[in-house]
């Protein structure tokens, strides 16, 4: 009996093989086994042989959408900035997409970063991915030498120990609170759709912060970012961060100092999060790759919550619904506008 993930891996291989063999796609973007136990790494299959290396597990934490624009561009003939794009259809890319990755691709389509016609999306309803930190904590600081996955549990082995843990207990926060685990757009489907999940307290972590006093919130924020080494791994892994010159690297204008001064680090995190406002699909890649364990998802999560509350908007569900900061409604909330507050007070 193979596990769910093994079945998924098999089907991905099968579909990738077929797509590559029939030349429907030139490349297939998926995951393969990494070198560290349990680690998975993004992988581009170029032919049928490569396709055999495609795999799937609960450790696919990096959003593949991040690589998609680059891969598509790599398949275009090189041209000067003002040269028109070549005539005729361009080669396509196949890609695996869970719920949040597919929603991310919807945003990328809306922002002209990928051409829907050139991607073949293999949808995989997500069962949640593992948080490596949670996993490590469950075994203390001991080194893990192998991880064996079952459908609902993980068997962890190390030097002189062996432990079975409940899989769900070590799933990432973003996956635990995810309400749209199914892919939104796809051309092939692996497994069956599980439907939206109902999680009444999906924003609980944000609400806990909101409940604090101003000074407590400031202290939390300062504490959270204090370990930041400005390595920008969170930015680099984010499919929404695709500016040729990032605001942190720009010197004209210089929004953020390049030092490690706390103010500049704070501004980096504020602006980074704000740039994701109304676009972030909470894929959790940023947090998963942070070497310092900064929980920066809480920042984007707050904005996500507000977009929902203020504009009734969740990104990536429908390419035809404009992104919240590219549109407006005449009845948008304005209870924060001073003159409106005063009007209310007078009444």
């Amino acid at each position: 009996m193979s596990t769910v993930n093994e079945k998924i891996a098999g089907q991905i291989q099968q579909i990738a093989t077929q797509l590559l063999e029939s030349k429907e796609v030139a490349l297939f973007l998926g995951y393969t086994q990494g070198t560290v136990p349990g680690a998975m790494q993004p992988f581009v299959a170029r032919d049928v042989e490569d396709a055999k290396r495609l795999s799937w597990s609960s450790f696919c934490v990096v959003n593949l959408a991040n690589y998609l624009p680059g891969l598509l561009r790599s398949l275009e003939p090189p041209r000067r900035p003002n040269e028109p794009p070549p005539e005729g259809p361009l080669p396509k890319v196949g890609v695996v997409a869970t719920g949040c990755w597919s929603r991310n691709m919807v945003v990328q389509i809306q922002e002209n970063q990928i051409d829907r016609e050139r991607v073949v999306i293999v949808g995989v309803p997500s069962r949640g991915m593992v948080d490596r930190r949670k996993l490590q904590e469950s075994v203390g600081q001991r080194e893990i030498t192998s991880i064996q996955e079952d459908d609902n549990s993980l068997l962890i082995r190390g030097n002189g120990f062996e432990k079975v843990i409940n899989r769900w207990d070590v799933i990432r926060d973003n996956c635990q609170t995810c309400v749209h685990p199914d892919p939104v757009i796809y051309d092939r489907l692996v497994g069956s759709l599980s439907g939206d999940r109902n999680i009444p307290d999906r924003f609980r972590q944000v609400e806990e912060i909101e409940a604090l006093s101003v000074e407590e919130r400031w202290n939390w924020f300062q504490e959270e970012i204090s370990s930041c080494i400005r390595c920008y791994a969170c930015r680099n892994v984010c499919p929404l961060c695709y500016c040729p010159t990032c605001f942190v690297d720009d010197s004209r204008p210089q929004w953020v100092g390049k030092s490690k001064e706390q103010v500049d680090t704070a501004l980096f995190h504020i602006v980074r999060a704000y740039h994701c406002a109304g676009r972030c699909t909470d894929c959790g890649s940023c947090e998963s790759v942070c070497p310092m364990g900064i929980k920066m998802r809480l920042f984007t999560r707050k904005l996500q919550k507000d977009c929902l509350e203020l504009f009734d908007f969740e990104p990536g569900l429908d390419p035809d619904i404009p992104l919240p900061l590219t549109t407006y409604s005449t009845s948008d909330p304005e209870d924060f506008i001073l003159t409106q507050i005063r009007k209310g007070d007078e009444k």
Partner: protein, 1011 residues
């Protein structure tokens, strides 16, 4: 005959006069704008908000006034009156008296010191006497020209020389001139436009209203001032007797309108229903308690304009009470309250108490205007409005003299603005040969290239007399400025804006080789253009300039803190210097104009527009989807004035077909449109490509045919059930069968003012009543029943309603809850309807049933609006750029609209709108190029990600994605420089010239430095 004069006299500085002046001055004519009072703005400047958008009246009006005030080709003559006009079209001599202002407008800086010191208080006529002003006064805070004037009747000095004279003593610029005397002058012009407006009806003579007897009975105009933030109670809505906030307000409609017995005004004033609803809504917003009860007592609710019915619906939802009753008497009650006595629909007498009563007074012509018209031999109608014909709605009986606005009939602002442009079209059309012959053009020396120079900044610090200097230490500020980086020259002036200082500034720029200038004085909103012009005169680009507002936003608002105000002034100067350092010379952008118009739709609107332009010498391509000209008017029998349509239409078609400037493209539609103002390219369905500078959309509308559904009423099932236009066909054909009819019935509002079509179709009440009268002409014994909801015979059309009642036509009111029931009894029509007044069901057996069905937008208008990037209303009519002040423009520059595609309207309004559209189009076509914004957005392709967020937030479609590069590009001809794209761009790839992030950051940083 000599070439006509290339100048026009516009009489009346209200919104319609100002609009006519601007249209003409911008299309090649010199304009003399004569205004009786000390400032232009007219009645609109007195209003608080405007319906149906609730825009702040002063806010939307002000920019137009400022534009007119500064226009090189508008000669503003305030405090002036027309004495006499001689001559005819093209050659007229006008005698004008200019009354003394006693204040030199060249010197007055509007600091207000004079009024502060003036000891004489008089009732302020701008506030209708509710507040006071001084004998030296500014008509209102945003007055244009922003110059004080002395009221000679109130002034102590002028009446008893030797006494008072304080103003002269305190005036810091020596502007007071007690020796000012009236002047008479004669102007030679080609044409005259009278835009003398109206005056609000004075209800003093109507005893029952209690006006003048009871303090808390006010007119609607007075209430407008009570609501206004610049009014006598600063917008706090206090009632006159005790300054308390009223909790119960009643509006009495039709005071001085629709009243031949007491007020001698048989006409409807058209605007009062809407302004009453607006006031009720705004009053509710103003109410601090939030429990204001607003009641409107009316006869028929006339919300017949675009967006009006929805406004009415919303007002009811918001709890405004509408009571259909005519009030007998207003009686005094305790605490200065008032009791209204009225009879309800059951005929019972009711007494109801209110805190404040607002009389919705009508509009009438000022007796002085009547006298002037008599003197000029201009025909007036029975109501003393200027008589016009439906087919030439802005022409008077006197050739060469045109009218616009409420002088010819009570009307709202958009209609007045529309007519203003139409009158400009009339005058311009007559004088087109003389275009640009009398206009002035400013010439400037070539500009010095300053790119390679390091900043050499000059700072001019103004004392503004003592306006700044009495609070801010200007010497300290000047010395401080001198030390700022990049500053090579600093100087303090008493009045920087005085002519000699301006001349000296130009010399200094040249002598010191300044390449950036900062003026620290008043507000750039009024003075930036003046100083920028000085830069140009001194040979440097006008965008190398900044102002530090150390008067309006410093010395005037921090009078008690001179030290802090001085510190702030230094900060403001430092900020301006930091900003100006980054300023670059910008191009004075222009877009060349293809001198051709495209007119879409060859109904009356399209043909009138096309002809108006063609007759001025502009080539026109007139596109019509059908194979024949004429559109809906072909089916239309006569106007409500009794003028037969066919004769006019045939003549119009002949003129269009024979005009060599008009290319007719029949059986043709629009396939594709590209480009923008001045340079459109349109592909027609016949494969032809048209290059044109402007476009006028006049595609009309459709008549709603209720073939099924709730408004069917046997339509299409019984041969004797017609729509209005179908009955017109029978009139056109002289159908003998109509004469023998014994009984006819009309049902109003068929498919209008209903949930699926919530607007009023405006034309049907009048059309139906006119048809009923026509039937009466054919057979005076015919019994005719009109089943209506509200009769909306606005303006002079009310006389028709009056006549119909006199002739025995029976009006039965129904409402949506009690619709008439119509059924077929063996081929005969039976109607049953509940008469709301007698409360009984009435059964009718008409041999003819006419359905006054809705005018509905055409389904294909959406396609067209997309091609031209124009907006539509929810109902599917085309949406103009601004409901109030730009009624024929689209938000897309160079595209205009006219006729039924805008909203249902009668033929005279369609013609006026078509002429207005032509006038607006001529403003573009008369020039070789049109100016475009200089401060525009600019894309850095190296930073652009192509995410297109900028294209989505641009309201002007000025940013588009380049299909080739996948990067955003800005069309500088279309960009207005708002910067929405800049703020939306995450990648800093798009910036605003001279207003980029770095420059704003430099100013912000400079603001923080001293602390």
């Amino acid at each position: 005959m000599d070439r006509p004069k290339g100048s026009v006299l516009v009489v009346g500085g209200g919104i319609s006069g100002v609009q006519a002046a601007l249209d003409l001055a911008d299309s090649g004519f010199f304009v003399h704008l004569v205004e009786k009072s000390s400032a232009i703005g007219g009645s609109m400047s007195q209003l608080d908000k405007t319906f149906p958008t609730n825009d702040c009246s002063a806010c939307i009006l002000s920019p137009k006034l400022v534009e007119a005030g500064r226009h090189l080709n508008i000669n503003l003559l305030t405090l002036s009156e027309v004495l006499d006009i001689q001559g005819g079209p093209g050659h007229m001599k006008v005698r004008i008296r200019k009354n003394p202002r006693y204040v030199d407008t060249e010197k007055c800086i509007a600091c207000g010191t004079c009024a502060e010191k003036c000891p004489k208080k008089v009732p302020n006529e701008f506030d209708l006497g509710l507040g006071t002003r001084k004998a030296i006064y500014l008509r209102y805070p945003q007055a244009v020209p922003l110059k004080y004037a002395i009221d000679p009747e109130a002034c102590i000095y002028l009446n008893k020389p030797g006494r008072c004279g304080f103003c002269k003593k305190v005036c810091p610029s020596g502007a007071i001139n007690f020796d000012d005397r009236p002047e008479e002058m004669t102007l030679e012009v080609g044409s005259v436009i009278l835009a003398l407006g109206f005056r609000p009806y004075d209800p003093s003579a109507l005893d029952f209203t209690g006006y003048k007897n009871f303090k808390n009975v006010v007119t609607s105009m007075e209430f407008e001032r009570l609501l206004s933030p610049s009014g006598p109670c600063m917008g706090h809505m206090e009632r006159p007797s005790d300054k308390s906030e009223p909790q119960r307000i009643a509006w009495l409609q039709c005071v001085g309108s629709r009243d031949i017995n007491r007020a001698c005004h048989g006409y409807c004033s058209s605007v009062c229903c809407m302004y009453a609803i607006k006031q009720a809504v705004i009053a509710k917003e103003h109410s601090k308690s939030g429990n204001l009860q607003s009641s409107i007592f009316f006869m028929d609710m006339r919300t017949h304009g675009k967006g009006f019915e929805a406004y009415y619906d919303r007002a009811r939802e918001e709890g405004i009470r509408f009571k259909r009753a005519r009030v007998h008497t207003v009686l005094p009650a305790k605490d200065d309250n008032l009791v209204l006595r009225y009879s309800n629909e059951a005929g019972e007498l009711i007494d109801e108490e209110f805190d404040l009563v607002v009389l919705s007074v009508g509009l009438e012509t000022d007796p002085e205007v009547i006298r002037l018209c008599h003197d000029l031999d201009i025909e007036l109608d029975q109501d003393n409005f200027v008589a016009t014909s439906p087919f030439s709605p802005v022409a008077t009986s006197k050739p060469g003299i045109f009218v616009c606005g409420a002088i010819s009939e009570p009307k709202d602002i958009p209609q007045s603005v529309m007519e203003a442009s139409a009158a400009a079209c009339g005058a311009g059309g007559m004088l087109h040969e003389a275009r640009w012959t009398q206009t002035k053009k400013k010439e400037f020396p070539p500009e010095r290239n300053v790119y390679s120079e390091p900043p050499r900044i000059g700072v001019f610090v103004c004392s503004c007399g003592i306006n700044i200097a009495s609070v801010v230490d200007v010497n300290e500020v000047t010395e401080y400025a001198r030390k700022l980086p990049g500053v090579v020259f600093a100087q303090n002036n008493l009045f920087t804006c005085s002519q000699d200082t301006i001349n000296q500034m130009a010399e200094t720029i040249k002598k010191e080789r300044l390449n950036r200038v900062v003026v620290a004085s008043c507000t750039p909103r009024t003075h930036e253009p003046l100083f920028q012009e000085t830069l140009r005169e001194a040979g440097i680009n006008k965008f190398l300039f900044e102002m530090a507002n150390i008067r309006d936003q410093d010395s005037w608002v921090h009078q008690k803190w001179p030290e802090k105000a001085t510190e702030k002034a230094k900060d403001l100067v430092r900020m301006a210097v930091a900003k100006v350092r980054g300023d670059e010379p910008l191009p004075y952008n222009h877009v060349p104009v293809t001198k051709k118009a495209l007119v879409i739709g060859a109904g009356v609107a399209g043909m009138v527009s096309a002809l108006s332009l063609a007759e001025q010498g502009f080539p026109v391509c007139l596109v019509e989807r059908k194979e024949i000209l004429g559109g809906h008017a072909r089916k239309f029998y006569r106007t409500w004035h009794g003028r037969v349509m066919k004769e006019y239409l045939e003549e119009l078609i002949k003129r269009v077909e024979s005009n060599p400037n008009i290319d007719l493209e029949l059986g043709t539609t629009i396939e594709d449109v590209s480009g923008s103002v001045g340079r459109f390219k349109t592909t027609l369905s016949n494969g032809k490509n048209v290059e044109h500078g402007v476009a006028i959309v006049a595609v009309g509308a459709e008549s709603f045919k209720p073939r099924s559904g709730p408004w069917n009423y046997l339509y299409g099932k019984n041969p004797n059930v017609h729509t209005l236009l179908e009955l017109d066909q029978r009139f056109i054909k002289d159908d003998e069968g109509l004469k023998g009819l014994k009984q006819a019935a009309f049902i109003h509002c068929v498919g209008s003012r209903v949930p699926e079509r919530p607007y009023c179709s405006r034309v049907c009440c009048t059309h139906a009543i006119d048809q009923a009268l026509k039937l009466k002409e054919l057979n005076p014994d015919m019994d005719i029943f009109m089943l209506y909801r509200d009769i909306r015979t606005y303006g002079k059309r009310e006389h028709l309603y009056q006549e119909a009642r006199e002739k025995g036509i029976v009006f039965i009111r129904y409402d949506l809850e009690h619709l008439p029931e119509v059924w077929d009894d063996d081929g005969k029509i039976v109607i049953e309807v509940e008469d709301q007044i007698i409360g009984k069901r009435v059964r009718l057996h008409p041999e003819l049933l006419v359905l006054a069905s809705a005018v509905r937008p055409r389904d294909d208008v959406g396609e067209l609006s997309k091609l031209f990037k124009c907006a539509m209303t929810e109902e599917g009519f085309l949406l103009e750029a601004h409901m109030k002040l730009r009624p024929v423009d689209f938000a897309t520059d160079g595209v205009y609209l006219a006729g039924l595609c805008h909203y249902p309207k009668p033929v005279e309004e369609t013609i006026a709108q078509a002429q207005a559209a032509a006038s607006r189009a001529a403003m573009v076509l008369s020039r070789d190029s049109v100016p475009a914004e200089s401060i525009t957005a600019e894309v850095n392709p190296m930073k652009c990600t192509g995410c297109a967020v900028c294209t989505k937030v641009c309201a002007y479609h000025a940013v588009v994605m380049d299909g080739k590069t996948g990067k955003a590009v800005v069309d500088t001809g279309m960009c207005k420089g708002c910067g929405a794209c800049v703020a939306a761009c995450r990648s800093d790839a798009i910036t605003l010239k001279n207003l980029g992030n770095e420059q704003i950051m430099a100013a912000v940083e400079a603001a923080m430095e001293s602390w």
